[in-house]
């Protein structure tokens, strides 16, 4: 029977990802000296499981690589080896290598072994430094190639189980059955040791056997190894001898075996020699040649692990829903007007059930943000070493939950902000000392819920943003005119402007000037915001505000003619009645509206979407002031309807992508309403009226 193991490979890779996280965070804890015994055990166990699984699922590169790590960890666990910084760093590198190998396994491509081989050599070299005797004698077993020992006639087996043998669950009857399958068996049982009945303990074994196992013509000669295998588990629980019936042949055999045995045992363990650069490059080129094995597409189906409590509560709610439904249907069968009150109550209950069910289902997609936070200890560890800074990372609110999709997308922007804090925020130890601060800088990650949003704060106690430098740079780049008076917040906000970097020297950690604007853009795409506040000499805080989920949105329903559209509440600044005296035209084409000191372009929704409005007279319309990519605009609508939570249905999957529209939803009365995408809408409006909006 052959079983396809690939179906378990995916599970294995997923759980190995978790194992690698355990490995990494454990190693970091060991490095900072905050670890107890349990940590090194957990780390060892993680490596051990990965190795075992990798072997089983034929991921041999991973199994071989992890074996070396495991050996090293085993020595550390047993106290045979000190936990040195060197070893930890090497093991951390190994984790990275394993991640690469796992990724290759996931995509079913041939992994590039160049880095793996390099790190493996370093591991081997470190292991070779061991001051006590060479490590595992266990491999000897494998190197001794068993020479089949056979006889033509058969074997004489003397078998005397120790008293307790049965208590190991080994059954003599089973062993005899197996022996009998090898050839013709004659047994003589010795009952002399059986005590008097009164003294007999039925759980003990008192018998011993003398067995003649003879090869018959159908099966052929009997391999001694097969007999030994049957008794393998009880070797230490019995007196056993296996002698050939015709002694001569066997003796010759045994001599031969002894010779080969000594020959193999002199084989030296794998020589540890550094591979020359040429060799490594050969490895990498051959590897890259084999890679074009096509990357498997759409393995990104993605699965999530859900706590059983969440599933239980879901089942519970469905149960309640079913009860309500059956109650209502019963009521419908024999309805009369006097039951109206009951019906109302039933419907209210149905609404409650539905809402709870919806919330529970949403919760399934919610994961604690620790999944996203957990990569930062490693990042901070590596970068602070590289930058010779002393930095402590503090994390709070790790249990704050967030939609999985949002979490995946917020990872990179967060990494960028943390790198930024490390690189630009926290000062070098001597600078900090001079400023009267503690040498060790602190980076704080914090997350909490606020309304339907999650707030993530990344703060450092570094030097703060250099206001004057920012302003000078902005003037130099022509973003700000020299005589312009800017509020502090506006100056700090400049760092999110495309192509803006004040780093004197571009480092490879941050500061290529392609970061902060991308961070802001990515966060905006998630319907969120990012802001910065800073205090010179005290530090900087970045605050990210994100909707908890992408599946539901708080929307303002607006009406244009017979159509209903939805504007995301996050993008609305205010809504107002239009004063015609505030309307101006630029170049006789574009209309702008004077709102306090601002001029904002007007977007007539009915023109953009070509629908029949109730009126085109602006004084009868309402203006919704929104903020899109790069500026404000006023959206002209007939009427404001209610505000409500709407479930977002993708247009792309159901129809196709449309500019200016981010999705659709189904309203309570069953009609479909389109959800407006502000950035896209403003861009679209520019096309409808090809005159430049923004002065």
């Amino acid at each position: 029977m052959s079983i396809d193991l690939s179906q378990f490979k995916q599970t294995f890779i997923e759980e190995s990802d978790e194992g690698l996280d355990v490995l990494e965070s454990g190693l970091l804890a060991l490095d900072s000296g905050t670890a107890d015994d349990e940590v090194i055990h957990a780390v060892f166990r993680a490596a051990h499981s990965i190795k075992g699984g990798a072997g089983t699922f034929s991921l041999n590169e991973i199994a071989n690589f992890t074996h070396v790590m495991e050996t090293l960890l085993d020595e550390m666990r047993d106290g045979r080896r000190a936990i040195s910084k060197e070893a930890i760093n090497l093991l951390l590198n190994s984790v990275d290598v394993l991640r690469e190998l796992m990724a290759a396994a996931r995509d079913d491509v041939t992994p590039s072994m160049a880095r793996a081989d390099e790190v493996k050599q370093q591991l081997d070299a470190l292991l070779a430094q061991s001051d006590d005797e060479p490590t595992e004698p266990a491999t000897k077993e494998e190197t001794l190639a068993p020479v089949p020992e056979r006889t033509q006639s058969g074997w004489q087996i003397n078998f005397r189980p120790h008293e307790h043998m049965l208590k190991t669950g080994n059954d003599t009857l089973r062993m005899f059955k197996e022996l009998a399958s090898l050839g013709d068996m004659e047994t003589t049982c010795d009952v002399s040791m059986v005590p008097e009945f009164a003294l007999m303990d039925p759980e003990l074994s008192y018998l011993s056997w003398s067995i003649r196992l003879m090869s018959n013509e159908q099966i052929g000669s009997i391999d001694k190894a097969l007999i030994e295998e049957i008794f393998e588990w009880v070797e230490d629980d019995c007196d056993l001898s296996i002698e050939p019936l015709d002694a001569q042949i066997a003796t010759a055999d045994r001599v031969q075996r002894a010779e080969t045995g000594s020959a193999t045992s002199t084989v030296t363990p794998d020589a540890i020699k550094p591979v020359s650069p040429e060799e490594t490059s050969i490895v990498s080129t051959t590897a890259s040649k084999t890679i074009p094995k096509k990357k498997k597409l759409s393995t990104e189906t993605g699965s999530i692990r859900v706590g059983t409590d969440k599933v239980d509560s879901l089942i519970n709610m469905v149960g309640e829903l079913v009860i309500t439904q059956s109650m209502l249907s019963q009521m419908g069968d024999e309805f009369s007007m006097d039951k109206l009150e009951d019906l109302r109550e039933g419907l209210a209950q149905l609404e409650r059930n539905t809402r709870e069910l919806q919330e529970s289902v949403m919760r399934i997609r919610m994961l604690p943000i620790s999944f996203s936070f957990q990569r930062f200890p490693r990042l901070v560890h590596d970068l602070s070493q590289k930058l010779s800074k002393k930095i402590e990372l503090k994390m709070t609110g790790e249990q704050t939950e967030l939609d999985k999709t949002v979490m995946e997308k917020i990872g990179d922007p967060m990494v960028h902000l943390v790198r930024n804090s490390l690189d630009h925020g926290i000062e070098l130890p001597e600078v900090r000392r001079a400023a009267g601060k503690d040498e060790i800088g602190i980076i704080n990650l914090n997350a909490y819920h606020q309304g339907g949003f999650i707030i993530i704060e990344i703060s450092d106690d570094g030097a703060g943003l250099p206001k004057d430098k920012l302003l000078a740079k902005a003037i130099e780049k022509g973003l700000v005119s020299p005589d312009e008076e800017l509020a502090d917040e506006k100056i700090y906000d400049l760092i999110f402007h495309p192509g803006f970097s004040t780093a004197d020297q571009v480092s490879d950690i941050s500061g290529r000037g392609v970061g902060m604007d991308v961070v802001r853009k990515n966060i905006k795409e998630l319907g969120g915001k990012v802001g910065v506040s800073t205090e010179p000499g005290k530090g900087t805080t970045f605050t990210i505000r994100l909707p908890l989920t992408l599946a539901i949105l708080d929307g303002q329903l607006v009406r244009v003619g017979n159509e209903t559209y939805i504007i995301p509440l996050v993008s609305i600044i205010e809504s107002l009645e239009i004063e015609t005296s505030n309307i101006n035209s630029i170049a006789g084409m574009t209309e702008v509206y004077k709102m306090r000191d601002d001029y904002i372009p007007l977007v007539r929704l009915y023109e953009v979407f070509d629908v029949q409005p109730q009126t085109t007279r602006l004084q009868d319309c309402l203006l919704v002031v929104v903020e899109g990519d790069g500026g404000k605009a006023g959206i002209v609508v007939d009427d404001l309807l209610s505000q409500q939570q709407v479930v977002i249905k993708s247009l792309e999957t159901n129809y196709k992508r449309l500019p200016g529209i981010s999705g659709a939803t189904i309203l309570g009365d069953g009609t479909v309403a389109l959800i407006l995408d502000m950035s896209g809408l403003l861009a679209l409006a520019k096309e409808v009226e090809p005159v430049k909006y923004y002065a």
Binding site: L5, F44, S49, T56, A138, T168, N170, D236, D237
Partner: protein
């Protein structure tokens, strides 16, 4: 009645593989993710065979075997350890804890079935 097996491993993929293989061969399989879970299950019913990983969190395989052997209906139940080749000393430790035998990791489904058949007949 088909024979019942308790499969204990903290690694989901290994456990699934073991369970899938054995179920395919007609055995009834109950799964447990660590020694403590296995012990809790074992206290409620008997099995014809226990297959247990050694390295596990909460309660490891050796401790599980020791505990199982103190239960009246597990005195003679075959218990096999799933262990890696490096663990020669583990084998002995397991034996003295009361293990019947072992299956060496990595193993393939055929090897697993052969060994289980050997024990269960």
């Amino acid at each position: 009645m088909s024979k019942s097996i308790l499969a204990v491993d903290d690694s989901t993929s290994m456990r699934q593989m073991v369970a899938f293989t054995l179920k395919g061969a007609g055995y009834q399989v109950t799964e447990a993710a660590d020694g403590q879970q296995a012990l809790d299950i074992a206290k409620t019913r008997g099995f014809d065979l226990v297959l247990s990983d050694v390295n596990m969190p909460v309660m490891d395989g050796i401790a599980l075997i020791k505990q199982l052997r103190t239960l009246p209906n597990y005195k003679f139940t075959p218990i096999l350890m799933l262990t890696t080749e490096a663990g020669t000393s583990k084998k002995m430790e397991g034996k003295s804890a009361g293990a019947t035998g072992w299956i060496v990791k990595p193993f393939n489904p055929d090897q697993l079935l052969n060994t289980v058949k050997r024990v269960l007949g």
